[in-house]
Structure formats: structure tokens, C-alpha cells
């Protein structure tokens, strides 16, 4: 035996909350993308735990797809950060006021 399934859920919930906290309170574009990464990672922990809970490979397959989506998201996100940095010279989300 390992642990009750609820403990896996609690661990993933704490990690997800940390990701939200990072994405919402930090005033830095890199930390926002990093927060989204933490959230995706927490979600895949739940999927793998659930795959073991019900002995179903579906959860692991979905965690694999989450991995691919995370890679896509981070590449596009970083490209947009670089673009925004070229335009404004800053990575502070408050500095992007071109449309004001």
C-alpha cells in the first residue's frame, strides 16, 4: 500500500494553489508562465494518481497529453514574453499599456 488517494489530491491541491498564487501575485511575466507550469504539473499528478486508483491507463495517457500541451504553452508564452520585452524593455505586466 502507498497512501490514501485523498492525500495525493491534497498534495496536488496545495501545488495548484501555489501555482495560482505565483501567477496572480507576482508582477513578472516569467513568474506568471512559471505559475501556469506548476498548475499543469499539479493536474498531471492528479491524473497519474487517479490512474493508479482505478487501474486505468487513461489517466496516464492524459498526463502525457498535459505534458505536450505544457511544452507548447511554454514555448509560445516565452516567445510572446521576448516580443513584449522588445517592444517595452520590461517584463512587468503593468508596463504594457500601448493600447491605453
Amino acid at each position: 500500500m502507498i497512501v490514501p488517494f485523498s492525500h495525493v489530491l491534497f498534495l496536488a491541491g496545495i501545488l495548484f494553489l501555489m501555482g495560482i498564487f505565483c501567477a496572480v501575485t507576482r508582477r513578472n511575466l516569467f513568474m506568471i508562465v512559471l505559475g501556469v507550469e506548476i498548475m499543469l504539473n499539479a493536474a498531471s499528478i492528479v491524473f497519474v494518481g487517479a490512474a493508479l486508483r482505478w487501474y486505468d491507463l487513461e489517466g496516464q495517457a492524459f498526463a502525457l497529453l498535459v505534458l505536450a500541451v505544457a511544452a507548447t504553452e511554454v514555448s509560445v508564452g516565452l516567445a510572446m514574453i521576448v516580443y513584449a520585452y522588445r517592444r517595452t524593455g520590461s517584463v512587468d505586466p503593468g508596463a504594457f499599456d500601448l493600447l491605453k
Partner: protein, 172 residues
């Protein structure tokens, strides 16, 4: 308390501590390095939960590729970390409030849900079985993901190449 239980709690503490350190660092390079530790811990957790192939992918893609990409970009861009206002109250207060609500509801849901106390038994999905499962049952999804990666590549080229294009137009 078996050895697996002990390993799980040890990994949980390491992951949560590394993530907590990562999200509070002012220096971005330190944050990324701490997050690598967090993802390596997650990879070991995946191995413990019976997903060796996903554990390998977690190390290769998350802790390897994604975090190295972050490091590259962070090091090419000169970020003045000292000017960032850490945790301004106007953003911290609503986050704390909603986080508290989230924790309360989450604990209530997990505790009251039927079957959430089912104890996980050790089992392993062997990599070849898992690979066959994914490619037989989800081949269309794999194709869609490859299309997604191609679209991301084209999008990144469009966004990242814009300055060069502007320079070329200026020279004309």
C-alpha cells in the same frame, strides 16, 4: 507505515518546499532551479505511482527541456529583479481570500467524496504496455498533439521573427 508511504510523504514535503521556495524568489534563475527540483520530485512521485514512462518524460521534458528553455530566455533578457514589487497588498489580499475559500471547499470535497480514502496499492504500467495503449487507443489524439506542436512552432516563428522583419523593412 510501509516504505512506500514514507517515500510518498518525503517526496511531498520536498516538492511543496521546492515549489514554495521557487515562487517566492526574486532572482528568476534561482526560481527556475528550485522548480527543477520540484519537477524531479514529481518525476519520482510518478515512478512511485506506477508510471515509469511518464517519470522519464517528466525528467526529459519538464525538468530538462522546458526549464532549460526558461533558463535560456531568462539569461538572454536582462531582468532587473530588484525593481519588482513583491506581493503587493492589492493582489495578495484577494488571492489569500480566494485561496482560503478554495482550501475550505477542497478539503470538504475530498473528505466527503466517497472512495477518496481508498488506499492506493502499488502497480506498474510497463512502458511498452503504456506506449501500445496510447498509440492504439489514442492515435488520433497523438496526431492532434503533433499538429498543435507544429502550429506552436509556426506561431513562435511569427512572433519571434517580427523584429528582424521590421529591420529589413527599415533598411529598404
Amino acid at each position: 507505515m510501509t516504505l512506500y508511504t514514507f517515500i510518498f510523504y518525503l517526496l511531498a514535503v520536498v516538492i511543496v518546499a521546492a515549489t514554495a521556495l521557487a515562487i517566492t524568489r526574486r532572482n528568476l534563475v534561482h526560481a527556475v532551479i528550485y522548480l527543477v527540483f520540484s519537477f524531479l520530485g514529481t518525476a519520482m512521485l510518478f515512478y512511485l505511482l506506477g508510471a515509469p514512462l511518464l517519470a522519464a518524460f517528466e525528467v526529459i521534458i519538464y525538468a530538462g527541456a522546458i526549464m532549460v528553455l526558461f533558463l535560456f530566455i531568462v539569461m538572454t533578457i536582462k531582468v532587473d529583479a530588484s525593481e519588482e514589487k513583491m506581493f503587493p497588498f492589492s493582489q495578495l489580499a484577494p488571492t489569500a481570500l480566494f485561496g482560503l475559500i478554495y482550501i475550505t471547499i477542497g478539503i470538504f470535497v475530498v473528505v466527503s467524496a466517497p472512495g477518496s480514502y481508498a488506499v492506493l496499492e502499488t502497480a506498474v504500467a510497463r512502458p511498452e504496455e503504456f506506449g501500445q495503449y496510447v498509440l492504439q487507443r489514442h492515435w488520433l489524439t497523438v496526431e492532434i498533439v503533433s499538429l498543435l506542436l507544429l502550429i506552436a512552432l509556426i506561431g513562435v516563428l511569427c512572433v519571434g521573427g517580427q523584429k528582424q522583419r521590421a529591420e529589413i523593412e527599415d533598411k529598404r
